[in-house]
């Protein structure tokens, strides 16, 4: 008996087939695929006031064992959309990983050693739960038109709009979008229909995934074994998931017989060696897979934009698949919204291509390295890998070379066309967020809401973030000029982070940095100011608040 009952969402005959309007309707944004990425983008756009139509070929959520490790950055994004707390409550929270050689722990790593963050480094939650919570949130949102059993079978890109043919139980209809975002997965039918390239490297090693339901007293950590006694030739990865489901990945090598390995008796034999004679489990899901690292050369193709696995795919070691797809949606949503509102130039989309293209290349680079460490490609590589492993017992330096997956972190957009460079005279701590990096989190106090987090304070729209030890020390004329500017920009927020709110300027949201963590993580002094993008990335920073500097940085960030 499986732990999860797949929901069936209602198919509603579309107005195009019921009302038969004169011609195809044009939605501002058409999203193909109601997976993690499409649903995240739909919600983000809807909350920014942009109506979206989402087309999905089936009527349920993701089947089987797919994305399970949801990263801190993903949770911050989902929190903005109102679904992260539900996921954290259901999922298994973890910050630490353990690497073992044989049956001996080599070392542990802590992905978030310092407290003071709204979210943990990771939760493990099955993709079907994440999608279910996102779907339920979308259904509650008027501006999301979510259409199930609606398969896109034709795509015609044009200069003014993209028209698609949608197949439903009631027949085929046409609908247009000013923009079409293909979030339709690794086999993307939209990409295939348009004949766009998707190239990369295929790996020969095979892995067995076994998701089992087992009540076991296991710590909430990621564990990776090299040469464990229960699987002496290769490596094994173990994660806990919600509902007492464990996910075990057995490395099988290149020559394994996938059909043999998939037989329940053979899976049980492997699990018996791992968990011992007394353990009892039930099977949830199993499969044998190989993986590949591929990417499209361009994610923006006229009015058709690709995001998530449709645009790029990596090996699973590092949890960089689902998380990078959600980051794509986060990067794209505000840019599309500004374009549709007429508040940005079309060239802003080039920054999506540039920033997320760089992120995809970095994710592929990292996951390829992890894969090469886990599955050495030639004898000398294996010798070096095994030397690093055996030195790692006694030598901390070698632990840093052991690579069982470098876990997903948001990628810095080092060469972003919409970032403003630092003043060459200003000096910054290397750990502080430079333009093109996400703002760190920190606990703050708000006069009305009580505890609030830095990532919550700046979410969704552009924000000017200024620091002052005492609120009264902020330059009054500049503070007023920023407020005047903010009046012309919907949702634009000036925020003052201080220790002493007395004399705070009018029109600014003032928050108290009691712990001093926000100031420390942003390397802030009196007057230090960040311009933060709607996706919580830093667009620009300066040591002094100045309205003309803010205007220039804002202009650059929207063009």
């Amino acid at each position: 008996m499986a732990t999860y009952t797949y929901p069936r969402y209602a198919y509603v005959p579309p107005p195009e087939l019921v009302l038969k309007p004169g011609g195809p309707q044009t939605a501002p944004v058409l999203i193909v695929g109601a997976g993690l990425v499409g649903l995240t983008l739909a919600l983000d756009l809807a909350l920014k006031g942009i109506p979206v139509t989402v087309l999905d070929e089936d009527d349920t959520v993701s089947i089987g064992s797919r994305s399970i490790c949801q990263a801190k950055r993903t949770l911050e994004i989902w929190h903005r959309l109102g679904v992260a707390d539900r996921m954290v409550a259901k999922g298994v929270t973890w910050d630490q990983g353990e690497v073992l050689l044989g049956d001996e722990p080599l070392y542990r790593f802590d992905l978030q050693p310092e407290p003071g963050h709204r979210f943990p480094a990771f939760i493990n939650l099955q993709q079907y739960y994440c999608e279910q919570y996102l779907v339920e949130r979308c259904i509650a949102e008027d501006k999301v038109d979510l259409r199930f059993l609606s398969k896109v079978v034709g795509v015609r890109p044009g200069d003014e709009y993209v028209e698609v043919d949608v197949q439903t139980p009631d027949g085929v209809y046409q609908i247009r979008g000013q923009w079409l975002v293909a979030c339709d997965g690794v086999r993307s039918p939209v990409r295939t229909m348009l004949g766009l390239p998707y190239e990369g490297e295929v790996f020969d090693d095979q892995f067995l995934i076994a998701d089992i339901r087992m009540t076991a007293d296991l710590p909430n950590i990621r564990r990776y074994w090299f040469y464990p006694p229960f699987h002496p030739t290769d490596s094994v990865l173990l994660h806990r998931q919600a509902d007492n489901v464990l996910r075990v990945d057995f490395q099988l090598g290149r020559d394994a017989d996938a059909e043999e390995e998939k037989k329940p008796a053979n899976i049980d034999r492997r699990l018996r060696m791992m968990f011992g004679p007394d353990a009892r489990w039930e099977h949830e899901w199993s499969s044998v897979y190989k993986f590949s690292c591929r990417a499209m050369p361009r994610f923006v193709n006229g009015r058709v934009i690709f995001a998530g696995d449709a645009a790029h795919v990596v090996s699973p070691f590092g949890a960089r698949g689902g998380n990078s797809g959600v980051e794509d949606a986060d990067n794209l949503g505000w840019k599309l919204a500004l374009l549709i509102e007429g508040r940005a130039s079309a060239s802003l989309l080039a920054s999506y291509d540039k920033e997320r293209g760089a992120a995809a290349r970095e994710n592929i680079r990292q996951s390829t390295r992890s894969t090469d460490f886990i599955t050495p490609k030639f004898p000398a590589a294996r010798l070096l890998r095994d030397a690093a492993l055996s030195l790692a017992r006694d030598f901390p330096f070698a632990r840093a070379m052991v690579n069982s997956g470098r876990l997903s972190r948001p990628v810095a957009y080092a060469e972003s066309p919409i970032s403003s460079p630092d003043d060459i005279m200003a000096t910054w701590d290397v750990a502080a967020p430079a333009p093109g990096m996400p703002l760190p989190d920190a606990p703050l106090l708000d006069a009305t809401r009580g505890e609030v987090w830095l990532t919550e304070a700046v979410a969704g729209r552009f924000a000017v973030l200024s620091f002052a030890e005492r609120a009264s020390s902020l330059d009054g004329a500049m503070a007023r000029a920023i407020v005047d500017m903010a009046d012309d920009i919907p949702g634009f927020r000036p925020i003052l982070i201080t220790r002493d709110r007395s004399g705070a300027p009018d029109g600014w949201t003032t928050v108290i940095d009691k712990s001093g963590l926000a100031a420390r993580r942003c390397d802030a002094r009196d007057g230090t100011t960040y311009l933060v993008r709607p996706d919580q990335y830093v667009a620009a920073r300066a040591r002094r608040l100045h309205d003309s500097w803010v205007l220039a940085a804002l202009k650059r960030a929207t063009s």
Binding site: L384, A388, L391, A400
Partner: protein
């Protein structure tokens, strides 16, 4: 005179590790062994400190029985 460093002394350990692995790409087994030998001698000369090299040799031998 210094002692053998056991803590990380590289800014980007993944880069250095992959640099060495990639140096072996498309080499035969014998060529790989020659490359390793040459690399050891070059690095030993660069380190220069006999006590450090002795400690490294001992640690490497010990790792064989691990």
């Amino acid at each position: 005179m210094s002692t053998l460093k056991s803590d990380l002394n590289l800014a980007s350990p993944d880069d250095i590790y992959n640099l060495i692995v990639d140096a072996h790409k498309s080499l035969s087994r014998e060529q790989s062994e020659k490359l390793n030998a040459a690399l050891v001698l070059l690095l030993a000369n660069h380190v220069g400190d006999e006590a450090v090299i002795r400690a490294a040799v001992a640690a490497a031998r010990k790792s064989l029985s691990a």
